[in-house]
């Protein structure tokens, strides 16, 4: 590791955070085990809590990917939900192919909605999705290629700041409109659902849920370490410099476009992975995932946690979603006020998010 903040002696805050993170991961890892305890047991973790925290872990990966783009490269993407949804759709296509003849119409190859819409054969872009390796490749490649094209077009012509934000938002909006169409071959507004199995495991069993939970948790840890490694290397330092003074870095001779593009594509792939892990856990994917509101909600997770810190993004994803889960059942009318208020409060009073709050304490 080259010259990074990590070379300086770890502060008390940093040590505390590190201990907290390891503790939190261990706690989460214990959830599926504790779920097996009898319901009367004091340490029993309910099915609901396991499944909802599995979702939150996926959101945390999405927040992490967004923090890499926004917090370190200064790319405020208002369309990261699109990468998440594309990963989810790629996974959904695999799951649909695995249903095989067990659909309502019993067609050996075509998913139900295709039979319903009168398809004779599988569209070409569905070929290969029955293979798990190919599908997983697509989970990463489809969002990655989209980010590559969009990023190349934008970064090359030095579109930055709010312009880039608006363009990414327009992108996810356009994709949402497109995926709502029935003749796209992605199930129209119903999307994909009724999944049966993954890797030979029936999805409705506790074992499958636990396996997906652990897969998500491991992915989160791996993504976090990856992001930390990326941001701590020389590459990461240049990226941060670009965020703070793009023209200056360009004049120093760095290829700004390439640096930003790499971060953006890596971030999109991570978001795609998060979506792919999310879909089998919630059992449905539809074009609503592309709605601009979803993407901007992810931005608020990062902002609440504290951008440019990685841990903050994860913390933000868990705390905001925890609040959301609690409020939408306790006082559903209030949730949007609270979410809107979070935007206002974080930008005005907590520019460094919860992590900034902790730092203030630590000093």
């Amino acid at each position: 590791m080259s010259a990074t903040a990590l070379d300086t002696p770890p502060s008390r805050l940093r040590l505390g955070l590190r201990a907290g993170m390891i503790g939190a991961v261990c706690l989460l890892a214990a959830f599926p085990v504790l779920n097996q305890l009898p319901e009367t047991h004091a340490l029993h973790v309910s099915d609901f809590l396991v499944s909802v925290s599995g979702k939150w872990i996926c959101y945390a990966i999405l927040a992490l990917s967004l923090d890499l783009a926004w917090g370190y490269a200064g790319i405020l993407s208002l369309g990261h939900g699109a990468f998440f949804a594309l990963g989810g759709y790629a996974m959904g296509m695999h799951l649909m192919r695995l249903i095989g003849p067990r659909g309502v119409y019993g067609h050996p190859v075509l998913p139900d909605f295709m039979v319903f819409l009168g398809y004779r054969e599988l569209p070409w872009y569905w070929l290969g999705f029955d293979n798990v390796a190919f599908a997983m490749l697509m989970v990463l490649l489809v969002p990655g290629v989209l980010a590559l094209v969009l990023g190349w077009l934008c970064f090359r012509s030095r579109i930055t700041g709010v312009y880039l934000s608006i363009i990414t938002q327009a992108m996810t909006y356009a994709l949402m409109l497109a995926f709502f169409r029935n003749d796209m071959g992605f199930g129209g507004n119903n999307g994909f659902t009724d999944f049966k199995e993954l890797l030979g495991m029936p999805l409705n069993t506790g074992a499958a849920r636990a396996a997906l939970f652990y897969a998500s948790l491991v992915s989160l840890v791996v993504c976090y370490l990856l992001c930390r490694w990326m941001t701590a290397t020389k590459y990461g330092r240049v990226l941060t410099a670009i965020r703070d003074a793009e023209s200056r870095v360009r004049f120093l001779g760095y290829d700004v476009t390439r640096h930003k593009l790499f971060a953006f594509v890596a971030s999109a792939m991570m978001a795609g992975l998060a979506g792919a892990l999310y879909v089998p856990q919630v059992g449905i994917i539809n074009p609503g995932e592309f709605s601009p509101g979803n993407s901007i909600e992810a931005v608020v997770w990062v902002a609440v946690g504290g951008r440019g810190t990685l841990v903050g993004a994860v913390l933000g994803a868990f705390s905001v979603n925890g609040l959301k889960t609690w409020l939408t059942s306790a006082a559903p009318d209030l949730w949007l006020f609270v979410l809107g208020g979070l935007f206002v409060a974080v930008t005005l009073f907590l520019p460094k998010g919860l992590i900034g709050l902790l730092q203030g304490r630590g000093k």
Partner: protein
């Protein structure tokens, strides 16, 4: 009913005496035996004289009475009228004329033909349509007679088409040619269908029919193009309205206001409230919409003022944070409106002068409210340009935009100008809401649909350029509508989004980039 009949009779009296005699001749037959009645009905039907309608209807309803001297009286609720003249008459002592099924059939047929000359315009139109569809050479004299007395251009047009369609199936080639020529001069798809049908049966007239079809096709193409053009302009005017406020707040001030759509929505709800408040005041109710314009400007402007003074001014120079903050505020406004008014659509009625459909030349149908909105958006645009160009406030606004420190040094209170400019832009959004309430559903998420489009318009046109906003909105509106027929509404929208993104590649500062030092910042 009696008055209507009298009116018909007065019209009928102007007819030549010969026709009157034939009418009176035939009328007398209605009082005879069943055979004579049926024959009289047939004759009256072919005469095409509207005076025959009342007696024949009366006969089929059992209200026709015969006096001892053979003259006929129609029994009405208030007494009776003469069948021949329509003058009031005494029905006492007259006995009901009876009919059988044969007469009934003859009456029905005759009345059907006479509908072409009925005093009721809607009935005449319906009859013309029916004759057009049935297409029989027998109808030619009848249509001739009806055309001779028809005065309404719209019905004349349909009758001429029906006549031409009937002539095509006649045996006389001259008649056929006349029919083909008339159809070829029209611009209706139905006429085209009839010509194509006739093509198979009339090999000798092939060239003429082909020419007529081609002529119709040309006119139809022109009409379609004109329709598309108008739709594009209409969409452009909506985009212009939605984007104008943004062009001021984003374009001039550089503030990203993601709550812009919510200000539009507030304007639409203000329209609804003004309409509800004035509903029961007879003198003011028709002016609800014009009065909503200043009201919406004030409501949205005030909301904008509060937002600028309370929140946004703390974040100047931090555009990304402003974006997030305003998004949050928009979310709260939306939820507040949803709680106050409910999630369902609220009904805003259009004033009478904005309802209905107008016909422009070339038969282009145009909905009145869309035309009004188009005119309104253009007038409104000019007003805003004038306000920025010619008022003291506009001058200060431009000064602060171009060089803030110098403007401040000249004694302009920049903070006040910022607040007023933002309020001005928000107020414009409110006025856009008034217009959009006429063509869109007034619901809490009215604004969300416009925000992305508005940003694209402003960015495409060039930030800071109102003229660019004008051209960009009409340009995007037209492109969208031109693409729509062969790409579908959704894909057309996607294409436009992609096209704007690619365009920004070539010209990152839009169609009309701002020049000068301010642009470099």
């Amino acid at each position: 009913m009696a008055r209507l009949l009298a009116l018909v009779l007065m019209v009928a009296l102007a007819l030549p005496a010969r026709a009157q005699d034939a009418f009176l001749d035939a009328l007398a037959g209605l009082g005879g035996g069943f055979g004579a009645q049926a024959e009289a009905a047939d004759r009256l039907g072919s005469l095409g004289d509207p005076r025959a309608i009342a007696p024949m209807r009366a006969l089929s309803d059992g209200r026709l009475l015969r006096r001892a001297d053979g003259t006929l009286v129609i029994r009405t609720d208030s007494g009776g009228i003469e069948a021949a003249t329509g003058a009031p008459a005494d029905a006492a002592g007259a006995e009901t004329v009876r009919i059988n099924n044969r007469v009934r059939v003859a009456l029905r047929g005759a009345l059907g033909k006479l509908q072409l000359v009925s005093p009721d315009a809607a009935e005449r139109l319906a009859a013309a349509e029916a004759v057009f569809r049935s297409r029989s050479a027998e109808n030619v004299p009848l249509l001739d007679a009806a055309l001779a007395r028809e005065t309404q251009p719209r019905i004349r047009e349909r009758m001429e088409l029906a006549l031409a369609a009937s002539r095509i199936v006649a045996t006389d080639p001259a008649q056929k040619r006349a029919g083909i020529a008339t159809l070829g001069a029209s611009s209706s798809p139905e006429a085209r269908a009839i010509l194509l049908e006739a093509r198979a049966q009339n090999a000798e007239l092939l060239a003429e029919i082909e020419a007529a079809v081609a002529a119709i096709d040309r006119r139809l193409a022109v009409r379609r193009a004109a329709e598309t053009f108008f739709q594009g302009l209409s969409l452009g005017s909506v985009l212009l309205l939605a984007a104008l406020g943004l062009a001021v707040t984003f374009g001039v001030m550089g503030v990203i206001n993601m709550a812009h759509g919510e200000f539009v929505m507030l304007g639409a709800y203000t329209t609804f409230l003004v309409q509800q408040a004035l509903r029961d005041i007879p003198g003011l109710a028709p002016f609800a919409l014009p009065l909503s314009v200043p009201a919406a400007f004030l409501v949205a402007g005030l909301a904008g003022l509060l937002m600028e003074r309370g929140l946004i001014r703390h974040l100047y120079g931090r555009p990304l944070e402003t974006l997030l903050l305003t998004f949050g505020v928009g979310m709260m406004i939306q939820q507040a409106v949803r709680l106050a008014f409910g999630a369902q659509n609220r009904e805003v009625t259009s004033p009478p002068w904005m309802q209905g459909t107008l016909m422009l030349p070339f038969d282009i149908p145009v909905t009145a409210n869309r035309l009004w909105i188009l005119l309104f958006s253009l007038a409104f645009f000019l007003l805003i340009v004038a306000a920025i160009r010619f008022t003291r406030f506009g001058l200060e606004m431009r000064a602060v935009t171009q060089r803030r420190p110098i403007a401040a040094a000249m004694g302009i209170r920049t903070g006040r100008v910022d607040a007023l400019t933002f309020a001005f832009g928000s107020g414009i959004a409110g006025i856009a809401g008034v217009a959009l309430s006429q063509i869109d559903n007034v619901s809490p998420n009215l604004g969300t649909g416009y925000i992305i489009d508005s940003f694209l318009v402003v960015v495409f046109g060039g930030v800071g350029s109102l003229a660019g906003t004008l051209i960009a909105s009409f340009g995007l509106g037209l492109v969208n509508k031109v693409l729509e027929p062969w790409a579908g509404a959704v894909l057309a929208k996607v294409f436009v989004l992609v096209a704007v993104m690619v365009f920004i590649q070539r010209r990152p500062r839009g169609l009309f980039p701002q020049k000068g030092r301010a642009a470099e910042a």
